[in-house]
Structures are given as structure tokens and as C-alpha cells.
Subunit: 417 residues, 2 copies
């Protein structure tokens, strides 16, 4: 994409009421726009990043047998009353609204209830199990405070998968499969080395659950990390008893602030019992389906990447997440040869399916480089009189700052390796 046509521009500063680093950098870079506290729009660069994150999650969910659906945000009270979660003191972040034709509706904060009810139409026999159903769906949460940029918002996309299994054994098998998929996802998204599977409270559903926590000073959670074992324990449940169960001496743990980027939850038969999701086993006996839920918020992951992978100059996107594979910058100073050389390289990249943001604007080199640092595309390609006279393209690695001169004839091969 030619940067001259992009409608967003970088900004010197974010709105004054924006205190989080992720929102500040994302707003300055033109990735997002703040509509109100806790509510953001995704602009072209930001939507590309978000879609890349979604793409990685979708691939890994499909790989473990997930089937994608899309449930609505509007919720009738019926199924939520069946599980006693329609009350504001059961779910304290409901947004509710009124139908013109009469009756109260809620905006989904999660989807256990409607999906469990839906599955009663398709699950009758043990032959119909197990099944794994997921979606990327907008959730609404009436957060009293929202000061963490896109880490905690009032409206956000969520990948929520729900597993439906015959029994505890079958459930646990998938639970571990999904935990492994989550590890893979966070590795592909560039935060694998900072993200720990974390033993946590199961809330009202079960004794324990697993969180995926990314170590980061901006995090709201406190966890105790065992680096060697690559696991962690949430402060909430870090009792002597739990540590004994996990065979971890307290002295080997390190306290860290962290952001919860994913969670996996045993739900038992809490929802299937309440909503009648029952199957007939091999003997014809009726049994409740054993469920689990598995969440990742793509927007929160995006914010976490920015918190963890940025420096004073701007963002440093990991390869699979970056809005473009390369940032091509022409420093022409009015020299038409440089412009036509850069145009030619842009066409070459496009022809080879390498997505590039092409800074073809008439600006000083310093301004272009500052914008490029802020936007954070991992590879920068510079074409100037100097690089042409040296017979190549200057390639800069945004992360290390290292530069290499690559002959134009070898640039595609260089970028594809």
C-alpha cells in the first residue's frame, strides 16, 4: 500500500486522558482511535494487525478440530435465568437494553448459555461427541473503570471455544491439546518466551483453571514464575498446598506482574445440567455433557505485544503480526531516478506476494524514519541516491537496528528466507 494514500497519519501525542503505553503508541501510530474510555476503533493498520492475530488463532483452533460459528450479541434472558446468571450480582458487567416490542435484552459478556442451549439441538447421542465449537465474537462488558488502553475494554473481540465431551477423561484430553495449541499461538504471536501457563482459580465453575499470563509491568495480575519449569502460579492460589501439589519449592518462584492473554476453564456439567444438554451413552443412559471453555482476546493480545515489544521509538511487531512484511522507504530528495527505482521495487514486492507499506510521501528522511520506527514493521527497505550508487537496497531490522546492503537482484530471496 502506498503510504500517501493511507488516510491515517502518525501523531506527535495521544489524547491527554490516555495513560496506557499500548494505547498511546497505537493511537500515535494510527492503529486505533479512541471513541471513549474503554472503546476504540481499529484503523487500517490496526485492523491488519488484529486480523493477523485472528488468523493465527483460527489456524490453531481449526488444527485441533474447532468448528467456527458466530453467535449474536443480543441475548434474551431465558437461558441466562436457567443458570442464574441474568442477575447483575451474578454477572456484574451486564449491559442491558429494552426491545421496542417489549422485554429486556442483554449484550453478551460471554456465550456459555446460548451455545449450550444451541447444542441441545445437535447433541443427542454419544456418537455426536466430542465437539469443539468456537467463534470470534464481540463481547460487551460494562467495566466501571477502563484505563488500560486495549487491554481491558468495554467492547472487544473474543475467541471463545467451548468443548463438549462425553466424560472427564475425554474432556481432559482436549484440555491439554488446547493448552498446547495456546503455547503454539503465543509463540507464533511473538510473546511465547514471556507467556506462562499459570495455575489459577477456577472461579465458580471448578477448583482450578489455567491462565496464560504474559510477564509485563503493565499487567493487573501478580503471578509467581518458575522459569526453569516454564510454569507459573497465580498469587490468588499460591498456597503451600498448591505448591506441594505442583512440587515447586516456594524459594524457586519469582514474583512478576503479568497480563492474562488467555485462559482455559473446566466447566464440568454446570451449564449442561442447567440447560439440559444430555446425551445417551452406549447403554442408552442419559448423561450430562462435560464442558470446558477456552478464551483468547485478540485485541488484548495486540495491546500486550505493544507493551512487551516496543522501545522508546515505537512498536516492534513480530513477523506474523506485523501489518505489512516490509516498510519500503524512498529518500528521493526530488531525484526522479530514486522514485522510479523505489516504484520498481514496490511492484517487484507486490508481484512476489510480499506485502509492503511504501512510504512514497514527499517528506524528509528523518520524518520518514521516525514514522517507520513508530509503526514498527519488522523489516525496513531504504532506497536513496546512496543505496543506488552502492548497487542495492538498505535493509534494516527494526528489532536489532542492524543494516545490510542487499543487491536488488537478491532482495526477494532475502526477504523470503
Amino acid at each position: 500500500m502506498r503510504q500517501s494514500t493511507l488516510f491515517t497519519k502518525t501523531r506527535k501525542s495521544a489524547p491527554k486522558d490516555e495513560v496506557s503505553k499500548n494505547a498511546e503508541l497505537l493511537i500515535r501510530g494510527g492503529f486505533i482511535h479512541k471513541e471513549m474510555a474503554g472503546v476504540y476503533s481499529y484503523l487500517p493498520l490496526g485492523l491488519r494487525v488484529l486480523n493477523n492475530i485472528i488468523h493465527v488463532i483460527r489456524e490453531e483452533m481449526n488444527a485441533i478440530g474447532g468448528q467456527e460459528v458466530a453467535l449474536p450479541a443480543l441475548q434474551s434472558s431465558k437461558v441466562w435465568e436457567a443458570t442464574d446468571r441474568w442477575r447483575d450480582d451474578a454477572i456484574d458487567v451486564w449491559f442491558k437494553t429494552e426491545l421496542k416490542s417489549g422485554g429486556e435484552l442483554g449484550l453478551a459478556t460471554t456465550h456459555e448459555e446460548p451455545l449450550t442451549a444451541l447444542m441441545t439441538e445437535y447433541i443427542q447421542s454419544y456418537k455426536d461427541l466430542p465437539k469443539y465449537v468456537y467463534q470470534f465474537q464481540t463481547k460487551f462488558r460494562n467495566e466501571p473503570r477502563a484505563k488500560s488502553g486495549i487491554l481491558r475494554t468495554r467492547e472487544f473481540l473474543m475467541k471463545d471455544l467451548y468443548s463438549f465431551s462425553r466424560d472427564e477423561t475425554e474432556f481432559r484430553e482436549f484440555y491439554e491439546l488446547c493448552a498446547a495449541a495456546y503455547k503454539k499461538i503465543f509463540a507464533r504471536l511473538g510473546i511465547g518466551d514471556k507467556t506462562y501457563r499459570t495455575y489459577a482459580s477456577g472461579g465458580s465453575f471448578s477448583k482450578f483453571s489455567d491462565e496464560f499470563q504474559t510477564v509485563c509491568g503493565a499487567g493487573e495480575d501478580t503471578i509467581y514464575v518458575h522459569k526453569e519449569k516454564g510454569i507459573a502460579v497465580n498469587k490468588e492460589v499460591c498456597t503451600d498446598e498448591v505448591l506441594a501439589d505442583l512440587s515447586i519449592p516456594r524459594g524457586e518462584l519469582q514474583e512478576e506482574k503479568a497480563i492474562e492473554v488467555g485462559n482455559i476453564f473446566p466447566l464440568g456439567t454446570r451449564f449442561s445440567d442447567a440447560l439440559g444438554l444430555v446425551y445417551k451413552d452406549e447403554t442408552g443412559e442419559g448423561k450430562s455433557v462435560v464442558m470446558g471453555s477456552y478464551g483468547i482476546g485478540p485485541g488484548r493480545v495486540m495491546g500486550t505485544i505493544v507493551e512487551v515489544l516496543s522501545n522508546g521509538d515505537g512498536i516492534i511487531w513480530p513477523k506474523e503480526v506485523a501489518p505489512f512484511a516490509a516498510h519500503l522507504i524512498s529518500i528521493s530528495g526530488g531525484n526522479a531516478d530514486v522514485v522510479s527505482e523505489a516504484d520498481r521495487l514496490y511492484d517487484l514486492l507486490t508481484a512476489h506476494g510480499i506485502s509492503a507499506l511504501y512510504d512514497d510521501r514527499e517528506l524528509r528522511a528523518g520524518e520518514k524514519f521516525a514514522d517507520s520506527d513508530l509503526i514498527g514493521i519488522p523489516i525496513r527497505l531504504v532506497i536513496s541516491e546512496k543505496t543506488i550508487s552502492e548497487g542495492g537496497v538498505e535493509v534494516l531490522d527494526r528489532k536489532t537496528g542492524a543494516t545490510t546492503l542487499v543487491p536488488e537482484s537478491g532482495i526477494i530471496e532475502y526477504l523470503k528466507k
Copy 2:
């Protein structure tokens, strides 16, 4: 995808309160699930269709210079008060809700206001224009009645593009470009021959607008079609004066019921004036940006396709819309050779990137064919003892019912042509 793993099943009947043909067939085929009147979930087959429709629209919007964003559903009153559309008698389908921290929010029915406000941060000069911004975003409309299946729902996805131009001439140029893109979209979606650009009322924004109306008995609108000229006039504006303007004799028009599948609207400076979207022209003078809006509802298009392209046995999806390119059906009767031959063909299709739904279930041929007719994938491939003995695969065209025996060695080439 192996049909044995798909969690949905076909149903003999739709819910009793479902009166529309589109919802009845889509529910019976397992494409959608009714949550309440006017609110549906998209199940795996339905989501694939919806995403194919979105893909076509996105390609054509990108081709005319559209830049994709995603604005939130939650709306603060501020920008809507500026245009005097916060009042329930200005927009009569608002859903409103309350913030825990105080204040009323609305659920977006459309996005002129927030996007115009957003663009004030990026448009200052004539050099920043023109710009075309679009999204696929969920709209909420508090419809008093909802009885048309997915043609008119309370929560639905909308592709809404907004154009920002320097003046009327530049605006009109894009308006016609987008009208041509819409023609292309509806042709690719298989309803081009039944869809007419229709002269219509401009509502409160301008004298006239253009609707894209698909002729269909289930439609809520009445239009007058001029088949030869390939245009139509909405009954609302079909006055002698308008017909004279268009040089159409009334006698050549045919009255039809139709579904509005798209619309394009001149907005003039109604929103830019109210929200201060002003640019400096070449002389430094401040001018209001001239706007237009361009909508297509992918869900409504999906419903329209079903209304228009189905027969007594089920749906007939057009090629670019179908959930899979081919429906592979094995009729094994317990014969392991037939199963392994069908497995082999499924692998072959997958290896060549041809998406297939593979009915590997142990069911009678009649049941499989009835399901296949209902689901409506355009090409059916049948493997049975009979086809193997004849040395090929039976290929059935869902639309014409014509069958051909194609040798397996030639099947990929046959499907790719």
C-alpha cells in the same frame, strides 16, 4: 470437511414461528440457528457462506480504493446530538443502554456520525482528499417486527463505506465507480440478472439515492422495472416528473416486488457541517467535505440468494458463495473399496485446494442425496460400486440436475475449468 465430524445436522422442519422461506431452508440445512425473533446465529456452513459473500464485497471495495476499519457498536451521545439524531424520533430503532459509571450509550444503527468525527483528525487539507473508508460491522436495530428471516434482523453485519470528497464532481465520480462495483458484486454473488439499480428517495439527506433491488416475491419493496434498460424506479418516487427525467415511458415498466440488497446515498455536507469536517482548499479557504454512504448487508444478501435461488428440494448456491466447491458423497453399502476410493478422492481434492464437504456418514443413498439437495453445494460427486465399475465419478450439477461420468484421472481438471 468430513460431514461425520460436522456438529450440525439437517432438520425435517424449522421452528413453527418461522414464516420466511430463507430462514426455513437455512435452519433446516444447519446454516443458521434462531435465537429469538430477528436474531440468528451463524453455524459452520452458514458462516462459510457469509464469509464468502464478505470476501467478494471486500475485494471489490479494495479495488475502488476502500480502506477497511472497524468502528465500535457502543456509541456515546455526543456526536449524535451534534447531528440531532440521538432522539428516538430521529432514529426510531435505537437500542440504548446505561454505563455503570454513568451516562447513556447507544448501539450503532449506522456509523456516519462517529466516522465523520474520526476523520476530522486526519483530513485537514485538499491533499488529504478524496478518501474512502469502509467496514464490515455489526449494526443493531430495534425493529418492532422481525418476520423475514435474515432479510431484516435486529442484529446484522453491514458493509458500510463512506466517501469523503472535495466537491460534488469528485463525489459523483466515485458514486458511479461504486455503483459499477455493486453491479459486479451482485453478478459475482449470483443475483446479478435479477438485481436492478433503482432510482429511489434520498430520505432526509438528498433528493434521490440509488438502491440495488433484487426482484423477488418475498421483497418488502415495490419497484417498477425497465428490463431492456436494466434499471428500475422505486414506487415511492415513480412520478411522471421522475420518469420524464429518466426518459422512461410508464408503459414500458413492469411492477415487481423486490428486496433492497444495497444502497448508495449522497450525503452532501449534512454530516461534515454538523461535525466540523472541513478542509482547506488550494487557496486556503475552509470547505466542508462532500460525503456519500454505500451499504450492503451480507446477511440480507445471503437470505436473498436463498429466496431467489432455491427449489422444492433446497438451496442452490452460486459458485462464489457456496460453503464448499463440491459435495463428495460415498454410497458404500458397507463396501470397503468404495470407502477407500472416496477417501482417496477426498484427499485428492484437498491436495488440489478444492474445498469439499465429504459425506462419509453411514446413511442410505436417499438420505444423503436429500441432505445434499437441501444444503445446495453446486457440484455433487458420487462414488458408488456402480460408478467404480464404470470407471469414474458421477458429477451432478445441483442447478440443472444434469449428471456426467468423469474418469477420476480427469476430475481435478473438470472441476477447475
